[in-house]
C-alpha cells in the first residue's frame, strides 16, 4: 500500500490556496475567492502554508518575477495555476486538486525538480532579484548593506537610532505584494526597528499597463475592502460574512438588510473600537477612516441609490493629506497593516507613481 499516495489523496480534498492578486484583474480574484469559499478550501497565509499557488489575472513582468520567486518557496506537494479570466476558475481548481492527488506527478514533476521545485533548502534567490519584493519579509532584503557584512549572502541588520534615542537594529523588509488581505500589486518597502516603521516607500508593480477594473456594484466593492480590513484586524467571522455578502451582491442578490446588520454589528463592537482608536493616519485617525468605510458601505447599497445619485467608488483618506507611504512612518507593523487596509487604495487606479 502506498501511504504517501493515500495521504496525498486525503489532503487534496482540502488544499490551501495562495491567491496572488494582479492589479486590474479583480474579476478573476473575486471568482477565485467565491469558488474557494464554495468548496470550503482555505486561503493560505503565505507560501509555506500553500498547496496551490493561484495567480488571478495576467501579471506584468515585475509581478511575474515575484510570482516565480514565491512559487519557488511553496513546499511540495504543490500545483501552480493561472486564472486569467473568471470563467476558468472551476476547471482550473479541479485540475489543481487532481494534480495534488496524483502521487506520480508530485514525485516526478515536482520533487525531482522538473518544475524547479527540487531544492527547497535555499529558496530565496540571490541573483540580483533583490529589488523584487517577495512574500513580505522572507529575508532581509538588501538595498542597504549593513555594517556587519553578510551571512549566507544576506546582509546583516544595520543599526540606527530609534525613537527613544537608543541604537538598535534596522531591518529592510518589503511588505507585499503577496500578503493576505493586501492590495493587488502593492509593495511597501519599510525600514523596521523592532516592529516600528521608520522609513517607507510604496510602489505598484506593473502599474502602467493595468486597465482599472470596473466594479459592477459599488456596494460589492466597498464590502470587498471592508472584508480585507476585518481580515487584517483578525476577525475572520465578520470578514467571511462581508465576503459572502459581496459575492451575493455580485450575483444579483438582495442583501441590503444583511449588509446593514453586518455594519451595525461592526459598529457596535467595543473591542474593535478599542483596537482602532488613537492610531493617527496623517491628519485623521484609523477610527474615523473605519467609520467612513462603514458609512460608505451603507451609502452604496442599491436601496439607498433611488435618489438618483449613482454610487461612485471613493478614495479614502485623501484628506489625510499625504501619500500612503508617509502615513505609515512611525506606525507599528500591525497598525500599518490596518492603515493600508483602511485606506484601501485601488492599486489599478494608482498609476505608476507612488501611493
Amino acid at each position: 500500500m502506498d501511504l504517501t499516495a493515500l495521504l496525498l489523496r486525503v489532503a487534496a480534498r482540502r488544499p490551501h490556496v495562495l491567491v496572488v492578486a494582479v492589479p486590474g484583474a479583480a474579476g478573476a480574484r473575486l471568482a477565485l475567492e467565491a469558488a474557494l469559499a464554495h468548496r470550503g478550501w482555505p486561503v493560505a497565509t503565505g507560501p509555506a502554508d500553500a498547496d496551490v499557488l493561484a495567480v488571478a489575472g495576467a501579471p506584468g513582468p515585475d509581478l511575474a518575477a515575484v510570482v516565480d520567486a514565491v512559487w519557488g518557496q511553496v513546499p511540495a506537494p504543490c500545483v501552480r495555476i493561472d486564472v486569467p479570466a473568471p470563467a476558468d476558475v472551476g476547471e482550473r481548481l479541479d485540475a489543481a486538486a487532481a494534480l495534488l492527488a496524483d502521487a506520480e506527478h508530485q514525485r516526478t514533476e515536482v520533487v525531482d525538480g522538473n518544475e524547479g521545485h527540487g531544492d527547497h533548502e535555499e529558496h530565496h534567490d540571490h541573483d540580483g532579484h533583490h529589488d523584487h519584493a517577495e512574500h513580505g519579509g522572507g529575508g532581509h532584503d538588501g538595498h542597504h548593506h549593513g555594517h556587519g557584512g553578510t551571512v549566507a549572502g544576506l546582509p546583516m541588520a544595520e543599526v540606527g537610532p530609534d525613537r527613544d534615542g537608543l541604537t538598535l537594529d534596522r531591518l529592510h523588509v518589503p511588505l507585499g505584494p503577496v500578503l493576505p488581505d493586501w492590495p493587488a500589486g502593492l509593495v511597501v518597502r519599510v525600514t523596521l526597528q523592532g516592529d516600528v516603521i521608520q522609513e517607507a516607500s510604496a510602489e505598484v508593480l506593473d502599474a502602467g499597463p493595468a486597465e482599472p477594473f470596473e466594479w459592477p456594484s459599488v456596494a460589492a466593492r466597498e464590502l470587498d475592502g471592508l472584508a480585507r480590513f476585518l481580515g487584517v484586524a483578525g476577525w475572520p467571522r465578520a470578514a467571511g460574512r462581508a465576503r459572502t455578502l459581496r459575492d451575493a451582491l455580485l450575483a444579483g442578490g438582495e442583501v441590503g438588510a444583511e449588509v446593514t446588520a453586518l455594519v451595525r454589528r461592526i459598529r457596535r463592537s467595543r473591542t474593535l473600537r478599542w483596537l482602532v482608536r488613537d492610531i493617527s493616519v496623517g491628519s485623521t485617525d484609523l477610527a474615523a477612516l473605519l467609520a467612513e468605510r462603514l458609512a460608505a458601505v451603507e451609502d452604496a447599497l442599491p436601496e439607498r441609490q433611488r435618489g438618483g445619485h449613482a454610487g461612485v467608488a471613493r478614495q479614502y483618506g485623501h484628506h489625510a493629506g499625504a501619500g500612503m507611504a508617509e502615513l505609515l512612518v512611525g506606525a507599528e507593523l500591525a497598525a500599518a497593516r490596518l492603515i493600508v487596509a483602511a485606506l484601501d487604495r485601488e492599486t489599478d487606479r494608482m498609476g505608476a507613481g507612488h501611493g
Binding site: T4, L7, L8, V10, A11, R13, R14, P15, H16, G40, T45, G46, A48, D49, D51, Q73, P75, A76, P77, V111, H120, E121, E122, H123, H124, H135, G136, G137, G138, G139, H140, A152, G153, L154, L171, V173, L179, P180, D181, L192, G194, D195, L230, G231, V232, A233, G234, W235, P236, R237, G240, S269, T271, L272, W274, L275, L333, A334, R337, L338
Partner: protein, 311 residues
C-alpha cells in the same frame, strides 16, 4: 462515597496511565478541532482535522536561508511536550497521573515554556515576519502572565494548598468559581492567550502572513499547530479542577463530569475566537496591568479574608 476511607487511597493513577495520557489528550484535541470546524461553518467538519493532518504529514519541510533550524525545531517540539507534562497533574476524574504537592506551580512552569517555544520558532526561521511574530508572543506573555499567576494562586489560596487534588477537595461545598469569579474569568483569558488562540492570536496573525509560523511547512507546522491545540485543551481542562469543582456532580461518575466540564470550557474558548477581533498587545498590556492585575490582587485579598475568617 458514604463511609470515610480508613486507609488513604493512592492519590495518583497507576504508572501506565502516563502512557494513556497522550492518547486521551490526542482524542480530546481531535474532538476540539472538529468542534472548531463546526463553529467556523466548515462543511465536512468531521473530516477537517484528518485532511489537515494528512496535508501536513506529506508536506515537504522547508528551510529559509541561514535559518537556525535546530532552535526552531526545538521550539516547535517544546510546545506539545510542555502541554503533555502540564497535563500530568490534571485529575482525570478524581486522580491525576502525578499528584504533585506543588501541582499548581508545575502547571504554571510547563505552560510558561510556551513563551520560549514560540519565540524560538519565530527567531529560528530567520524571517522578519517570523521574528515579529515571536516577539509579539513575548509581549503577550508580559501581558497575560502576571494576572494569570494571580488567578491560579487565588485558587491555591482558597484551598490552602498547591496540590491540585486538595484544591478539588476544598470545593466540595462550593465551587471556587462562585467565590472567585474574577480569577476564573482572568484564567479563561490567559488560557486563550497562552495557546495564542483567538482573540489572542496576534503572534501567528494573518497580518504577518502567519507570524511565528510564517515559514513553517509540513511536519514542522504540524508539530507547532498540534502543540498549540494540546496547550489550549490542557489549559481549558485545568480550569475544571481549579474553579469548577473537578469531578464533582450528581449521577455521573467523576471522569464523566470532568469530560463534560472540560468540553464546556473548550466550547467557550472556541466560540470566543469568532466573537472578537484579534487583541493587539500594545492595547492588552495596558489593560492587563492597569485593570486585571489590581482586580486579581483584590480578588486574592478577598479570598484570603474568607479563608482567614473561616479558619
Amino acid at each position: 462515597m458514604g463511609e470515610m476511607p480508613i486507609v488513604p487511597e493512592p492519590a495518583a493513577l497507576p504508572w501506565w496511565s502516563a502512557l494513556l495520557l497522550p492518547v486521551l489528550l490526542g482524542f480530546v484535541t481531535w474532538s476540539a478541532l472538529v468542534g472548531d470546524a463546526l463553529f467556523s461553518g466548515e462543511r465536512a467538519a468531521l473530516a477537517v482535522p484528518g485532511r489537515e493532518a494528512a496535508r501536513l504529514l506529506v508536506g515537504q519541510p522547508r528551510r529559509t536561508v541561514a535559518a537556525d533550524s535546530v532552535l526552531g525545531r526545538v521550539g516547535g517540539g517544546v510546545l506539545p511536550v510542555a502541554a503533555l507534562l502540564a497535563a500530568a497533574v490534571l485529575p482525570l476524574g478524581e486522580r491525576p497521573v502525578a499528584d504533585l504537592s506543588i501541582g499548581v506551580v508545575w502547571f504554571n512552569a510547563m505552560e510558561v515554556l510556551a513563551w520560549a517555544a514560540v519565540w524560538m520558532v519565530g527567531w529560528g526561521s530567520n524571517s522578519a515576519l517570523g521574528l515579529a511574530g515571536g516577539y509579539r508572543f513575548v509581549a503577550q506573555g508580559l501581558a497575560y502572565e502576571l494576572p494569570h499567576m494571580f488567578a491560579i494562586i487565588t485558587a491555591a489560596l482558597g484551598a490552602e494548598s498547591l496540590r491540585i487534588t486538595t484544591i478539588v477537595d476544598a470545593q466540595r461545598d462550593l465551587w471556587f468559581v462562585a467565590i472567585m469569579p474574577v480569577a476564573f474569568v482572568v484564567y479563561l483569558m490567559s488560557a486563550a492567550a497562552m495557546a495564542f488562540w483567538g482573540p489572542f492570536d496576534a503572534p501567528v496573525g494573518r497580518d504577518l502572513a502567519g507570524g511565528a509560523a510564517a515559514e513553517l511547512s509540513g511536519v514542522d507546522r504540524l508539530i507547532l499547530a498540534g502543540g498549540r491545540w494540546l496547550l489550549l485543551v490542557v489549559a481549558a481542562a485545568m480550569a475544571v479542577p481549579l474553579f469548577l469543582g473537578g469531578g464533582a456532580g450528581p449521577l455521573l461518575p467523576a471522569w464523566a463530569w470532568v469530560a463534560v466540564k472540560t468540553a464546556a470550557v473548550l466550547a467557550l474558548l472556541l466560540w470566543l475566537r469568532h466573537r472578537f477581533p484579534t487583541v493587539r498587545m500594545d492595547r492588552y498590556v495596558e489593560f492587563a496591568w492597569v485593570v486585571l492585575v489590581p482586580l486579581t490582587i483584590a480578588q486574592a485579598l478577598a479570598v484570603a479574608l474568607v479563608v482567614l475568617g473561616g479558619a
